[in-house]
């Protein structure tokens, strides 16, 4: 039984090497739609992947600060922010209440068992990664007021 399982997956792994290369991780959005991260970061417009949790005060402060200027950022740089919620089953359902009541216009995704967080080697939240044309252009962990200005400067520099 054990060996069967091992060999079966070995078999699958060996016959299907010749396919996709990028991260095939799939996350769900609030409506249960499946979003493929590999496709998201290939965008020709800048993409911010921001990891947050409902219990993480600095995360929410950061997203609130960006919320204040997000419309301007979008107009100027066509940037999209994916707010990836790493909450587990305990508070995951609270995420929707938070972003709806605060009126956030971000794309919210759920990373329920932290698969994406692990894949990108994110140690702690808040943590954000910026992609542009499939390339990682900026990474930052932690938040103190004003970090968002630095982030925006990096995005503007990259798309020049």
């Amino acid at each position: 039984m054990k060996l069967f399982f091992l060999f079966f997956s070995f078999f699958i792994a060996s016959v299907s090497f010749s396919q996709e290369s990028l991260t095939q991780l799939k996350l769900k959005d609030a409506k249960g739609n499946v979003v493929q991260i590999g496709e998201v970061i290939q965008s020709q417009k800048p993409v911010i992947i921001s990891f947050w949790a409902t219990w993480c005060a600095p995360c929410i402060q950061e997203l609130e600060a960006i919320h204040e200027v997000y419309e301007d950022w979008q107009k100027e740089t066509k940037v999209t922010l994916y707010a990836v919620c790493i909450d587990d089953a305990r508070s995951q359902f609270k995420a929707m209440s938070i972003y709806k009541s605060k009126g956030w216009k971000y794309e919210v995704l759920y990373d329920a068992n932290q698969d994406l967080k692990r894949a990108l080697n994110v140690a702690n939240v808040p943590n954000l990664v910026v992609y542009y044309n499939g390339k990682e252009i900026y990474k930052h962990s932690g938040y103190s007021p004003g970090s968002e200005d630095v982030l925006y400067k990096k995005i503007k520099e990259a798309i020049k």
Binding site: M1, L6, S9, A13, F17, A89, M96, Y138, L151
Partner: protein, 560 residues
């Protein structure tokens, strides 16, 4: 174990060959990524104020190196951990030493994912099965074995797993296997989701087996777990329901010892949730009953070792220091007092939360807006008659005495572009006797917290808070606390914190900490000096008991 290492090595070799081949064809060299984390403590020799005496090794560190290599949908990875010369106090002691603790090879395509080696998995919300890592809690119960995931389209996902859970440098005895189906019925039936809403459903099964040759006759060596869930979502409404059941298992006391009885016990969970969102506001409701459902893969396991599933406390997750003194540890499994007297069989309760944003330029919102968060939760023990587990009558859906109750209100107000304040009030009732087995059944506390954040010029900012906790029926008495932080975005952060237990007549101690952190990209270094309060450290409803300590702490994180 050797067999697996061999298989793993051959797979690595295979990947390398493929890599070499693909290099000829295309210049895809794959991607190497990884992370390094190091947490170290240098303990003071002693600290009489908090009753601390240095352990045998005064310098201790927990270190993690993780490496992953991905090429063309194939990934391989290892994690190396070192707890040298010893484990930091409060972490599982069997971690002492070093070694490769996790390794895996996986293949991922659009429809199929296959993994052998160590992996992390969660079925649904984790009620039947969850394997995860939380370094702060010293938890890494990755499953070592095989996993297959098949998602033929966006409407269906099927998973199958088989293996054993990691325990420090080895595995548990218990073998686990399971399958999970997650279905989006609206997408399957091609219904108009905008008009009719989205209906989802899911089924999970998990089995566990552990040989037994002890004195208890007919002890179930195999236990089966089943769950079914359903969800409905339409514009501003989300509804969820989940029911889980386990077959008969023996009763085990808090020390991981099987209780000699001729009676075996099943368990169940029923969880109902609703979220309603409106204009700048949202309401959450959750109700849950848990009876005998906190499980380990092994009968001898205790505390956070070899957890099979995840049944967190459904209360507010607090982030202020004083709000984390009376935290609720959910009562999800049978617990016994000394002499194997039945103490708890489960819990029943719920929570309610209301969030409201008063927008800018509204009456209450003022020029810069205001936000309100109200939260209430209540949990009671499940009722049972008698303390001898052989004859006790155990009920479902019948509340007995209160375990925990709390009420939270938080107001955030922005006064101008650069200044905002948070005010928090928390009232809680904690049944320490029931939850911890000693103390009062009526620990009542009130907490007031005020916090302000000022954004200065050029990325400089100041964050400060003051907190006070009033308590009745706990000998530790009242607390006062304050924090001040100075940040220079995005690199520097300096902080001073103090918690003063002035109400404790035996030990009026200051728990102070002074420190700084430097962040550059994904690298972060933090150094602090001070004292650690004895108590529960909880992340996501799972707690670890941290002993009091004092000394120098350093931590380093880097990822690439």
């Amino acid at each position: 174990m050797n067999k697996f290492s061999l298989l793993f090595a051959s797979l690595l070799l295979l990947v390398c060959t493929i890599n070499a081949q693909s290099e000829k064809n295309k210049k895809d060299k794959g991607k190497l990524s990884g992370s390094i984390e190091s947490n170290a403590q240098y303990y003071n020799e002693k600290d009489d104020d908090i009753g601390f005496i240095a352990p045998y090794n005064r310098f201790r560190s927990n270190n993690y190196i993780k490496l992953d290599y991905t090429i063309k949908g194939v990934s391989v990875g290892v994690q190396y951990e070192a707890y040298e010369p010893d484990v930091i106090l409060g972490y599982p002691e069997n971690l002492k030493g070093n070694g490769i603790t996790n390794y895996y090879a996986a293949y991922n395509s659009k429809k199929i994912s296959a993994t052998i080696g160590h992996f992390y998995e969660q079925f649904g919300s984790g009620l039947l099965l969850r394997s995860w890592e939380d370094r702060q809690l010293g938890i890494n119960n990755a499953i070592f074995g095989t996993r297959l995931i098949f998602s033929p389209n966006d409407a269906m996902t099927f998973k199958a797993i088989y293996g054993k859970k990691r325990d420090a440098y080895s595995f548990g005895e218990g073998l686990i296997w399971g399958a999970d189906a997650d279905l989006n019925l609206s997408k399957l039936l091609k219904q108009d989701e905008q008009k009719k809403g989205t209906i989802t459903t899911g089924f999970s099964y998990v089995g566990k087996h552990e040989d037994y040759d002890g004195v208890v006759a007919n002890l179930p060596q195999t236990v089966h777990l089943l769950s079914v869930k359903a969800g409905y979502q339409k514009s501003n409404l989300v509804l969820n329901a989940e029911y889980a059941f386990r077959t008969n298992d023996c009763a085990i006391n808090d020390l991981g010892k099987v209780i000699n009885t001729n009676k075996f016990f099943n368990g169940n969970v029923l969880q109902l949730g609703a979220t309603i969102t409106g204009n700048n506001s949202a309401w959450n409701f959750t109700l849950r009953q848990v009876k005998n459902f906190g499980m380990y893969t092994d009968r001898k396991a205790k505390l956070n070792q070899l957890l099979l599933n995840y049944v967190p406390a459904l209360t507010k997750q607090q982030h202020y220091s004083l709000a984390n003194i009376y935290v609720y540890n959910p009562q999800v499994r049978f617990s016994f007092l000394p002499g194997n007297l039945l103490n708890s069989t489960g819990e029943i309760g719920g929570q309610f939360e209301w969030l409201k944003t008063f927008p800018k330029n509204s009456k209450l919102g003022g020029k810069y807006g205001m936000q309100l968060n109200v939260h209430f939760s209540y949990y009671a023990a499940l009722a049972f008659d008698g303390t001898d587990v052989n004859t006790a009558k155990i009920y479902s859906f019948k509340p007995a005495n209160t375990n925990f109750r709390d009420f939270n209100i938080e107001v955030k107000k922005s006064w101008n572009k650069n200044f905002k304040t948070y005010f928090t009030y928390i009232n809680s009732l904690y049944n320490q006797k029931q939850v911890e087995g000693f103390g009062s059944d009526n620990v009542q506390s009130n907490i007031l917290i005020a916090e302000g954040i000022v954004k200065l010029k050029k990325g400089h900012s100041i964050k400060a808070d003051i907190q006070h906790l009033w308590v009745e029926n706990d000998y530790r008495g009242n607390w006062a606390a304050a924090t001040i932080e100075y940040g220079i975005a995005p690199m520097f952060n300096f902080f001073v914190t103090d918690m003063y237990n002035y109400g404790n007549d035996n030990k009026k101690a200051h728990y102070y900490n002074v420190g700084a952190s430097i962040t550059k990209g994904t690298a972060r270094i933090m150094i602090s000096y001070g004292r650690q309060r004895e108590g529960l450290l909880c992340v996501g409803g799972v707690c670890r008991l941290v002993p009091a300590s004092s000394g120098l702490s350093m931590s380093l994180n880097y990822s690439f």
